[in-house]
């Protein structure tokens, strides 16, 4: 069933390939910000300096200097205390989710997750035959009393999956206390937490918060990260970080799924990090995305009819729009596609279904004028549903 839903999304994304379509559907970064010139330069340098190595097989763990950079970065920004042996390079953080399923999940195991949660995490875990229990989730993260009740009353809970920073699909961010308490619950009940964090570096305003992992003294929290949103997704380079014994299990499992990540891609990213200032690059992205979020928010405020609410995310790529209960976002999508505007209906983000009156808007990918034009058209479509 999740496959069917994934397939539905794919059909939407196929429509968005038509140039006349204004798409708020994908989770794509702004391609005009990719550092193309610099990447050409690091490719040349890596191939000149060590072409034979860069094109050959390498270790499953990944390129050591890149793993060291990631450990240092996480320690500085997320309050962790990792070294490179805590880090496994993965084929995007999506692969880290697939490997987590392979390491931890069997038929009928339970995954606890936010409600709603990331669509492709549902597909990744469900492929291992697990079931989901959704934990009620508010503006500041999971309601942890509800999580604890589930931990007390549910057999075979193997994973708690969360995205505490600028969540996909809602754009919401967990507060300090909930991060701390989640780590405490993980340790108390002995359950592994996957803290998925592809967007954390893209904060537009407010203070960064420590990671859930930073409160975990016993190795129950695993963190995923990615270069897709701070560099380029085409490279498919992400990582999973955590307790060394657990990471060794991931390494063995990763061997069977594709041996290792692209060697050249890893070395090019490491060389870019050595020669250029990625913080400057990220600042540029933040500036652009903040502007686009503001534009989206302002346009939705003006163009959307009364009775519709949406999140104003402090970072990341997404805004989550909630409609009156009686309106099904899939019906809205059909009408919206007639006007060449695409988004992802919210129902697919609930692993057990049941909520159809919401949808996700991506504000990072379309140029400014298209954001305004697209959301104004969408407002007109929505007005036909809310008369």
């Amino acid at each position: 069933m999740s496959y069917l839903k994934a397939s539905e999304i794919r059909e939407i994304l196929k429509v968005t390939e038509r140039p006349e379509v204004i798409s708020f559907a994908g989770g794509l970064p702004a391609p005009e910000l990719f550092p193309v010139k610099e990447i050409k330069e690091v490719n040349r340098i890596v191939l000149d300096e060590s072409g034979h190595k860069a094109l050959q097989y390498t270790t499953t763990e990944g390129y050591a200097p890149l793993r060291t950079w990631i450990a240092d970065r996480m320690n500085t920004r997320l309050g962790t205390s990792f070294d490179r042996d805590n880090i496994l390079i993965t084929h995007g953080s999506q692969q880290a989710l697939d490997l987590s399923g392979k390491v931890f999940l069997d038929e009928e195991d339970i995954v606890l997750c936010e409600s709603p949660t990331y669509l492709a995490a549902i597909s990744a875990f469900r492929a291992y035959g697990c079931e989901f229990k959704e934990v009620p989730t508010g503006r500041d993260g999971m309601i942890l009393d509800e999580l604890e009740k589930l931990l007390q009353n549910t057999k075979n809970v193997k994973l708690i999956y969360v995205i505490p920073d600028f969540q996909n699909p809602t754009g919401k961010t967990w507060n300090y206390e909930r991060r701390k308490l989640l780590a405490e619950l993980a340790m108390r009940y002995g359950v592994i937490v996957i803290e998925d964090n592809p967007y954390g570096e893209l904060r537009f305003e407010g203070e960064p918060l420590p990671s859930v992992k930073s409160f975990d003294s016993e190795g129950y929290v695993l963190c995923t990260g990615s270069f897709s949103k701070i560099f380029c997704p085409g490279y498919r380079i992400g990582w999973i970080a955590g307790d060394k014994d657990i990471i060794r299990k991931y390494v063995l499992v990763k061997q069977g799924t594709g041996l290792q990540c692209n060697t050249l891609a890893q070395m090019e990213i490491a060389k870019y990090l050595e020669l250029y200032d990625i913080d400057k690059h990220i600042s540029k992205m933040i500036k652009t995305y903040r502007l686009r979020r503001n534009l989206a928010v302002k346009t939705m405020e003006n163009a959307f009819p009364k009775g519709i609410t949406f999140t104003v995310s402090e970072g990341g790529l997404f805004s989550w729009v909630e409609l009156p209960t009686k309106i099904n976002a899939r019906d809205v999508l059909v009408k919206s596609l007639e006007r060449n505007v695409a988004f992802v209906p919210g129902g697919s983000f609930f692993p057990n279904g049941g909520k159809e009156n919401a949808f996700r808007i991506n504000f990072s990918n379309m140029p400014d004028d298209q954001i305004v034009e697209g959301l104004e058209r969408l407002g007109e479509v929505l007005s036909e549903f809310i008369k």
Copy 2:
């Protein structure tokens, strides 16, 4: 258990990273043949022409021009009749094996395979809880009477996994009749065949044979392929080809495991194939590997004691050495590593174990003088075991 064995191989391969070690252990191509200059050039061109596209997300199916090239190539060389919709780009052909497990295998399902078979296929499939039945395999491929008996008497056979060209680990090649008969058995018993073919293009002598797939008129045979051995393994680009409905299932499953393959890598390979002559490149590899195989064979003939036999492969990367029954190749390896010579003991290639008096030799990776020096040392070690 397969994980433990894989881990053992990893330990061997770690030793081989020491520069003083002469390694016949990995399955590595000769890095001095990688077209470094041409790759630098295609990187520049791809980023100049379409940098934004090359660094962005793309479709799960893969880059269309590359899929078209693969379909054409297979049609010309392997007697298939594919178009691009028969092809899914994978993260090396290793990912094609992992995805095959995900699509076809559940706990306690049975995979039929050659005996011995490719180590990392055992790990890939076993992760899905299957069991293996090894089919007796001779010089010309699987003994198909034995295969048919197993098909008649075994429940839950979901896959037949074979490497008909220059097999890993034995270097053996199936004859024409067995290829044809395997396809017929697959259709008669309605069982999927995975025809793994990473080495087929590297034929040193003799006539190419049609693929098993070319005899399959009903879509039961799936073919994997790879750019790792004919181009560069660091890119991690391979494929699986077959019936369009089955390939669509693979696409859905691949989405959950990492979304898609590296976009830039796919576009660079496609651009290389457009601008340069890969057949010329492959000819160069064949010439070098043929020379190294000849050197290895000649040295083993002279330096190995009586009572030891080995295969003389018509192509590919490997030779398979068989020892008198009482000698365990793992014991030989311990002594051999003391002399800084590495290989992979044969036991790990038998999913159900039981044969320890064999090992695999790779002849593609080491320079000529090291092949001679390493095999002479290995001959001395073997002479201590066979007095």
